[in-house]
């Protein structure tokens, strides 16, 4: 119980910290993002009404109001999901743009991360168990090699070879151009087809982290007395490998899972950019390229908050895995 309360409090405090950081960031930057933003908005055809100006100022910093009152407006803006308009997508609000892109990223990144975690962990267990033998060396070298690939480069390579040269996969997008997103099976199948290359790229680049972590943990765990004792008592090899070694070795990995989401999200920005996949990462790419500050702000907030929630969920899951923290 104590543990949950502690983690919950930590979650709330960190959430507050992240939101506040997002608030302070544009106000600490040199120059005036507000004027730049308003100018760009105007040039892309968005009428600059008072409400519009206000929305931008709440996000990026107002020269008139005090910091504290800005903060209050900012917080209420978040609660009402009002982030103003963006100039990259002038016909809709930022909230709408994000809302459309979110499911794509959730699908791609969410599924890929979990799959990469599972496969990476299993490979790490295998490599650690067979330490020093050919299996271990192959897995380790393979993972090291793959880890060094910058995600966007791997994406470009896959794109070039599999999509461009061999025409096995589509070159860009999340779905066939000309279609509108819906939930029909044919559309979903098409979406999955389009997501294979980006998913592959993301999975390969994030896999190696899990492999290494798990392998090192396994090697450390295998040296523990309880593994020796289990072997001395004649437990089956599989029981020892899974229930005694891997079950303990995985614990540090689980705590690391939440934190690694940051790297996954970062990678997804690059990968989605390369494939023009219509997710949040691609949005951030567009926003950054266009210096679209309102969109950037909102995206950063959404990404950070989702990560914090994911970490909190993982923390709660951890209680089930490690009885020692239940009393902490």
């Amino acid at each position: 119980m104590n543990y949950v309360v502690r983690k919950g409090t930590l979650f709330l405090i960190t959430l507050w910290g992240a939101i506040t950081l997002n608030f302070l960031l544009p106000r600490l930057m040199p120059g005036s993002p507000v004027d730049a933003a308003l100018a760009r908005l105007a040039s892309s055809g968005v009428p600059i009404t008072n409400a519009e100006r206000q929305a931008v100022e709440i996000q990026l910093g107002s020269p008139h109001a005090s910091l504290l009152s800005q903060y209050g407006d900012y917080l209420s803006g978040i609660v009402h999901l009002n982030f103003g308009s963006s100039y990259s997508f002038p016909s809709e609000t930022v909230a709408q743009t994000i809302g459309k892109a979110a499911p794509w990223t959730l699908g791609l990144v969410g599924v890929t991360t979990i799959v990469a975690f599972i496969i990476g962990t299993l490979l790490g267990v295998y490599a650690g168990w067979r330490r020093g033998k050919t299996a271990d060396t192959t897995v380790t070298l393979g993972a090291t090699f793959l880890a060094a690939f910058p995600p966007f480069w791997l994406g470009l390579l896959l794109l070039y070879v599999l999509a461009f040269k061999l025409s096995l996969f589509p070159i860009k997008g999340g779905y066939n151009p000309g279609e509108t997103p819906n939930l029909s099976p044919s559309f979903l199948a098409d979406a999955v087809y389009h997501s294979i290359l980006p998913a592959l790229t993301l999975a390969i680049t994030t896999l190696s982290g899990w492999v290494f972590g798990m392998r090192n943990n396994m090697i450390n765990t295998l040296g523990e007395d309880y593994v020796t004792f289990a072997e001395a008592n004649g437990l089956r090899t599989r029981t020892i490998a899974l229930l005694y070694a891997a079950r303990n070795a995985i614990l540090p990995n689980v705590t690391a899972f939440g934190l690694s989401l940051g790297a996954v999200v970062g990678g997804s920005v690059l990968v989605e950019g390369v494939f023009s996949y219509p997710g949040l990462g691609n949005l951030l790419y567009i926003a950054v390229s266009n210096h679209d500050f309102p969109l950037m702000q909102a995206l950063f907030l959404v990404i950070t908050v989702s990560m914090l929630v994911a970490i909190f969920v993982v923390d709660l899951l951890y209680v089930r895995l490690d009885p020692r923290v239940r009393q902490a």
């Binding site: 992240a18 950081l21 993002p33 090291t144 470009l156 794109l159 070039y160 390369v274 926003a287 995206l299």
Partner: protein, 313 residues
């Protein structure tokens, strides 16, 4: 009651283990340490490969003006050429020689990687040591800041910072990268420092009156060298990747030539479609190899601090 000890000195030169007396050396201490570390790293198979690759990169970077056949920014060649006799890697859309760009590009990537890695490690060590060594409110505050920095996604933050900042020099990139990568190292160092703090040799140093500064630098830090080195190499790896990513997204300095900018221009000029695969392949491979070399060396550093991981080669 009195205690009389009578341990007669060894009279017979028996079959006991002989430890050869240490020869006094003329090499100063820190260099001896460096030499010893390099030798140990060299002994590790993976680290050796890493050191070789890293050495080659450094060599190329240092000797760039001598090796590169042309100036990297001169737009004197016909654009969009495939690899040929004069331009081994072909030319860009602006008529620049890709091969020369690749050679000069090593400088930026190495520079940013090493310097950003060093800055990030320095910050990590400072914060980690202070937090680990001084429990209480200081530790709580620093730990909170570290945790916050950890959960905030690094790459997106980097992109946003780079987008906000007007100046686009290499140093901006170094700062942005360092600012977002110190947290992991800080956490590791803090936990090790706080473990060491309670060890007897530190307590005895404190009791014998050594000041905080000396205790930290004389007693604690030497026991964490491999941890700090590991942190540095990890940070350098991340820095190389991050710098490439920033350049690729166009957030770098478009006037400097680095492997990331080559990829940026490749993307902008649709190198895929014009068939200039070398422009995509070469810089990415170079980035991957540099990052790989840091990781490989880190394997050796890991094995230094954790004997269980040492290779059976």
């Amino acid at each position: 009651m009195s205690i009389v000890t009578s341990v007669p000195p060894p009279t017979v030169p028996g079959a006991a283990v002989q430890i050869p007396p240490a020869r006094p050396s003329s090499i100063p201490g820190p260099f001896q340490f460096l030499g010893r570390s390099l030798r140990t790293l060299w002994a590790n198979g993976k680290a050796r490969i890493g050191l070789v690759i890293l050495g080659l990169d450094i060599l190329v970077a240092l000797l760039a003006p001598l090796i590169a056949p042309h100036s990297p920014s001169a737009t004197t060649f016909p654009p969009y050429l495939s690899p040929n006799g004069t331009n081994w890697f072909g030319t860009t859309g602006n008529g620049q020689d890709v091969f020369s760009q690749m050679i000069y590009g090593a400088r930026i990537s190495l520079l940013v990687g090493i310097i950003a890695g060093a800055v990030a490690t320095f910050v990590a060590v400072t914060i980690g040591l202070i937090a680990g060594y001084r429990p209480g409110i200081i530790d709580e505050v620093l730990s909170f800041v570290t945790n916050l920095a950890l959960v905030i996604p690094g790459l997106p933050l980097m992109f946003i910072l780079a987008a906000y900042l007007k100046s686009r020099s290499v140093w901006t990139i170094v700062l942005v990268v360092a600012f977002t990568s110190w947290a992991t190292g800080a956490r590791v160092i803090r936990s090790q420092a706080s473990t060491l703090r309670t060890r007897e040799f530190v307590t005895s140093a404190q009791f014998s009156g050594e000041r905080l500064f000396r205790v930290v630098f004389r007693e604690i830090l030497p026991n964490m060298t491999s941890l700090v080195a590991g942190s540095f190499f990890a940070a350098a790896t991340a820095a190389v990747m991050a710098e490439a990513s920033l350049e690729f997204l166009g957030l770098g300095d478009p006037n400097t030539v680095s492997w990331g900018t080559i990829l940026y221009y490749a993307q902008q000029q649709n190198a895929l479609l014009t068939g200039q695969w070398v422009m995509i392949f070469a810089p990415g491979l170079a980035i991957a190899l540099l990052a790989l070399s840091f990781t490989l060396v880190n394997f050796g550093v890991d094995a230094l601090s954790n004997p269980r991981l040492r290779e059976k080669s």
